[in-house]
Symmetry: none
Subunit: 210 residues, 4 copies
DNA sequence: AATGAATGAGGTTTCATTCAT
DNA sequence: GATGAATGAAACCTCATTCAT
């Protein structure tokens, strides 16, 4: 019986395992943000996390998988957080502004994570070519849902496709964020950008006769 | 004979040199679009262009420089072409629609070039980190100029920063284009997307009381 | 309780230790025969034996030592078994045939062990380069002894060196066995091969005028 | 036209290419014989051949392919050489002795090659598991042919299978050779061993009443 | 005794770039 | 100018072994 138990990670070891995994992930975020995914060696991540190179592979199948995990887990957190902020709001225009503000504040607060997501993730062939971005779709669909809500309330134009708009808004925010991340001294604040983009989209989506 | 002529840069050899350079560039576009920049070897480009590997280096300093040249020259052409389309138009909203439609039709017509620009360019560390995108800024500034024109004509809102808007519009178009390129069967046409994005931005930028 | 007993090496724990060692060895034979020594990981052997990786090292110094132990113990068994079969025989030619038949039937009956011995053992650098094959010499010398017996009885040629003959016979049997093991569908039976080889060696060693 | 010609290796470059390939192969034989295939690094071979590491891969697809090439080319040479020695002989027993003597003298003269073939080749998983030993079969079949010749001449026993005998003889010779290679101070000469093995096989195969 | 998480050394191969011809 | 053979740097991952529990 003791033998069987030992084959299943115990409660304590499961927690400790998750902790170490997160520890490595955080180290990877710092390293990738600093030097870029391609220029970072697995041994750099290991050193930053104070573990041996091989230990990385007890928690991740490959270097690429580390990057994907950063993405997946950051997106999962963002989805949860933004949903919480949107829940109490009933006005779709208000929701649109909140989403944009949330996205940009997230980028600002978690600059390293944002840097990895926006810049490094795109450098990974694996990601761009093979990964099915379920989580990204889910995040994008929040915007789609807002638009559909506005349309069903009769306050947003019916002649736009939510699938197009959600990606357009994301592209707009994303491009600004990338610029802000890449340019050491940006000439405009993220908060201001979020506000203006939300304004333009809100005004542009509002039903003319409403 | 050609060899002798080449000793002195003459009108003919200069032209021939430019031709060969263009020939290599076009080969590179095909190769990069087919297999991706990272997976393409310089020798693949050489083979496609029917020249020796070393010959590439008589025309380009490095593999990265090939990619940058593709970008620079495509942008230069685009700038010239879109300026020609915008010149006869005086209405900034009309210009906005024209710009968006132009961008997307360009992507559609030159799929290989677009693929390289949108996807592969981002995979190049050199570009994202070290390249100063003068030509891109110039292209973007066309949008900025349209917005400033609209503001000076009093038909566009004064409370938006053209620098932010130009990048937002570009990001929106770019994200849609990338999606279209990456997804074998896109669920919406580029023309329709361009139209909707232009509509939303136009409506969103129009002065409320105008 | 078992734990307490184990603190003092007792007759029971010594037996239990030997049992576990044998258990691991048998697991290793299966694993090595299945996937090859080099491709097998120590953790594969551990899993097959239902013990932890580290436990292996309580019984064996290294992965190589497992292989050597398989060899040593298999040879010891073979020596004992063949000696028992040879003991009642007085005719050296009869002994020769018995030895060959024994060797091949052993290969046939213990295919996994044979596979490991014949194929995998040779893949181990350690073995071929550093190991002193005492047990193998002992096994080989059984043949040498048979030849010397025949010579002393005056029925076998004196102009052959038993040291050469013993190795030649072993090589002949071994090569056939390896072929049989490596080739899924062998074109001849091991028993028939043993018989023919023994026949040729017997006839070849018989004193012409005897 | 000059361009087309350049795509085909010229007579001169083809020769030079073959020379360099052979040069690398000879370096590899020395290195592998000295330290063993597994312990030898590709860079060791490169250093011995005075070329860059990458150059190796212009001539061989992989490290394994180097080993296979050594084998294939050595076997091809041996087949040709032994056939030449056997051609003038009509007595199958004489042929048998010549074959054995040839094999052993070959081992003695090309000790490094023999060492690689006998010992190192067997250490290569690729070879033992995936390679179809056509050349080896061809070499072995020379013995088979000799036996069949003896049988058709009515001087060799009909009750033995040439397929078994050819492999048995090879195994006998091979085992002695391996021993001689592995043991710094062998207790018997290769020439003497060849002679005795040939004698035993010849006598053993001779038709009793002939 | 048993566990299994952690360690860290080790090497093949690719391919951008050079340069002698 | 053109060639293409040669160069050589660079890093991911595996897995035998250890040792704290």
């Amino acid at each position: 019986m003791a033998g069987n138990a030992a084959r299943q990670p115990s409660a304590r070891s499961a927690k400790s395992r998750a902790d170490k995994r997160r520890h490595i992930l955080e180290a990877a975020v710092e390293v990738f943000a600093r030097a870029g995914f391609h220029k970072s060696r697995v041994s750099d991540v290991a050193k930053e996390a104070s573990v041996a190179d091989g230990t990385i592979y007890l928690y991740f199948k490959s270097k690429d998988e580390i990057l994907l995990s950063i993405f997946e887990e950051a997106m999962a957190e963002m989805i949860e957080a933004v949903e919480a902020q949107l829940a109490p709001l009933s006005d779709p225009f208000e929701q649109l502004r909140t989403f944009a503000a949330f996205h940009m504040s997230r980028v600002e607060k978690h600059k390293s994570v944002a840097k990895v997501l926006q810049v490094e993730l795109r450098l990974s062939n694996t990601f761009m070519r093979e990964y099915k971005p379920t989580k990204l779709k889910q995040y994008l669909d929040i915007v789609g849902r807002i638009v559909r809500l506005g349309q069903s309330q009769g306050v947003m134009r019916d002649d736009v496709n939510p699938i197009i708009i959600r990606r357009a808004l994301f592209g707009a925010l994303d491009e600004i964020a990338m610029q802000w991340i890449l340019t050491p001294a940006a000439r405009y604040g993220l908060k201001e950008s979020a506000s203006q983009i939300a304004d333009v989209f809100a005004a542009g989506l509002r039903k003319p006769d409403a």
